[in-house]
Structure formats: C-alpha cells, structure tokens
C-alpha cells in the first residue's frame, strides 16, 4: 500500500495547533485566510471532493478506517496536517516588507500568495495521486514578490516561482546551465506530476 511521508516534526504540529490562537486582529485574519485555502477540500460533489477521495484511496484511509467507511472529514484532517504548516508559511510572507532580504527585494505580493496557497494544495494532491511521498517545501519569496517553493533531493533542486496566476519551474541537477537545468511552466497537473517524479527518481 502506498505510504505517505509525514515529515512534520513535533514542533510543526504544535505550530498547526497554535494557528487559531493568535491574539491580534491581523493574526486572526491570517489564520482565517490560510484556512480558507483548504476550504475547497470540504466534502461535496465538486472536483475537490473527488480529489479528496483519490487521496483517501492513496493513503489507505478508505480501507483502513475502523468504521470501514470513507470519512471525508478525517481525510481533510490528514491533508490539513500535512499541508497546513506550509500554508501558514506562505501567508506569513505577507508580513515581509519591502527590502526584506537586506537589499532591495519587493514585498511578497498578495495575489501571488493567494495563488501559491491554491497551487501547493493541488501539487500535494497530485503527489498523493501518484502514490508518492510528500516532502515539505522550503517556502520563501523572490525579490520580485513571487512566492518560491524549493525542494532538494541529493543533487537535484526543484524551484517553483509563483506569480499572480502563473507557476514556473526550474529543475537543476548540476552546474552546467545548458545540460543540467530545465525550466518551464508548472500550471498543469501533468507537469506537476512529472516534476515530482523527476525529483524523486
């Protein structure tokens, strides 16, 4: 049965538990916005529900449930635990001001943050659909205000730049920029899956 990696540390799980507990108004708004990003995963008849169902199959929940029933709220909780720390990191980017890198970087853009939060959930579901392990990304920003996800596995580096409505990738597996780097758009499910298969191969 395919296994799902749960690389989240105890600290990260604590972070998840802490999310709604911010005292300030901005903290509440941040929490709410992050949680809205996965509202598409609520049970229903739409595409998101179908994806949830596929996740359930792949993580074995459908068969292993003690009740023998498919439990969407349970799956949602699993998905949330895996992806929510990343969503929080994405929304935290909105607190970075201009010049956040000590030089002249632009502050992360709100539209990029919103799109990145949707994109990463779709990527996670694509990986689950492949029956492969998920690795939590490094979340940062580009100097242009894009959201940047990075994964590294041995010599391979996968970098995703998320703009307002667009995702671009750079694959890097060595110093030669012609023969050991590739780039392109990462907006489709097929491309995202290919990227993950490349990273994990």
């Amino acid at each position: 049965m395919p296994q799902v990696a749960y690389p989240t540390s105890h600290h990260e799980k604590m972070q998840v538990n802490r999310i709604p507990s911010g005292a300030s108004r901005s903290s509440d708004e941040l929490s709410q916005t992050a949680l809205h990003s996965i509202q598409g995963l609520h049970p229903g008849t739409g595409t998101a529900s179908k994806l949830l169902y596929r996740v359930a199959i792949h993580i074995g929940f459908y068969y292993d449930s003690p009740r023998g029933l498919f439990s969407v709220p349970g799956i949602e909780e699993i998905v949330r635990e895996d992806i929510l720390p990343t969503l929080i990191e994405i929304y935290n980017l909105l607190t970075w001001p201009d010049g956040w890198n000590g030089y002249n970087a632009c502050a992360p853009k709100y539209d990029a943050v919103r799109y990145a939060s949707r994109w990463i959930v779709m990527f996670y579901l694509d990986v689950m659909d492949l029956g492969m392990d998920w690795i939590k990304p490094n979340v940062t920003a580009s100097g242009d205000g894009e959201v940047v996800f990075e994964w590294r596995r041995d010599v391979k580096k996968l970098t995703i730049y998320i703009g307002n409505q667009n995702a671009e990738y750079v694959e890097d597996w060595g110093p030669d920029m012609n023969t050991e780097m590739e780039d392109g758009y990462a907006n489709s499910s097929n491309t995202r899956r290919s990227l993950w298969q490349w990273l994990m191969s």
Partner: protein
C-alpha cells in the same frame, strides 16, 4: 592593492543573507544549503561587497543576525552559456557575466554582478533564474565567511 575601478579576478565578494527568510537551511551533517533566492535581485544586478575594500572583514557586510557568504570573482565571470531564447529554444542573445564596482555614498566596497548585454525583464523567466541557481551552488562550495547562527 587592487584598483578601485576594476574588480580583479581573484577578489572575494561578500553577500549578506538574513535569517528568517528561508534562504539557507542547516543540514544534519552541519553543512548549509543555500537558496538561489539569496541572490535574486529585482533589478537583475546582484549587490555584493568587495572584500579587499572591506579590509577583508565580512563583519562590515553583516546585518542583524545575518550570515555572510562569499564568491570569487573569477568563478562568477566563468559562468557561461547563459542565453535568451525564443521559439523552441532558438538562441537570440548570449550573455557573459561580470562584476563591476558600483560604490555607494555609504559603502565604497559595493559592487554588482550583472550580465553583458544587460538582462531585461524577459530574462527573469530563464537566464537570471539560472544565474541565481548557479551562484547558489558556487557559494555552497565555499565556506561561510560568517556562519549564520539560526535559520
């Protein structure tokens, strides 16, 4: 003594990296992974400080709690094969990478890594991102001038 108006090939270049921005990551073997975003600049010219003009003291590049990594000028100038492409990988421009002094009123050691001919916004899609990837690998191959103390 290096002339101030030319960056010599053997000159060391310092780049500040702030904590809390996920631009580096400590690995279990105590090495540090460096993100390509540590070099990303919206104006496509990457600021560095010339070590020679900082008395070879990276603390002069230091910000609050930051680390300082370094590059060697000749390694930067050796970055080749960067190009601008259109229509199914047809090369329409080839770049070379250089380092030039850009002294500031408050920092005479300031220099910039840039492309010749200059990158344009179009090159943000490909060439500049590749350059940042390459610079991160070059920096990783060297020891930190000032090792950051936290992520």
């Amino acid at each position: 003594m290096m002339p101030e108006n030319f960056v010599g090939n053997d000159e060391i270049l310092y780049r500040r990296v702030l904590p809390g921005r996920n631009h580096y990551k400590f690995k279990p073997d105590e090495t540090i992974e460096i993100s390509s975003q540590a070099f990303y600049d919206p104006e496509l010219r990457i600021s560095v400080d010339r070590a020679n003009l900082c008395d070879n003291n990276p603390k002069r590049t230091l910000g609050n709690g930051s680390g300082v990594l370094s590059l060697v000028t000749i390694d930067v100038r050796s970055v080749v094969d960067l190009s601008r492409e259109e229509n199914q990988k047809q090369v329409i421009e080839r770049f070379r990478i250089d380092v030039e002094p850009v002294p500031l009123p408050n920092n005479s050691a300031h220099a910039e890594i840039h492309a010749i001919p200059s990158f344009t916004d179009f090159d943000k899609k490909r060439a500049f991102k590749r350059l940042c990837q390459r610079l991160a690998r070059l920096a990783e191959a060297r020891k930190w001038e000032i090792r950051p103390t936290s992520e």
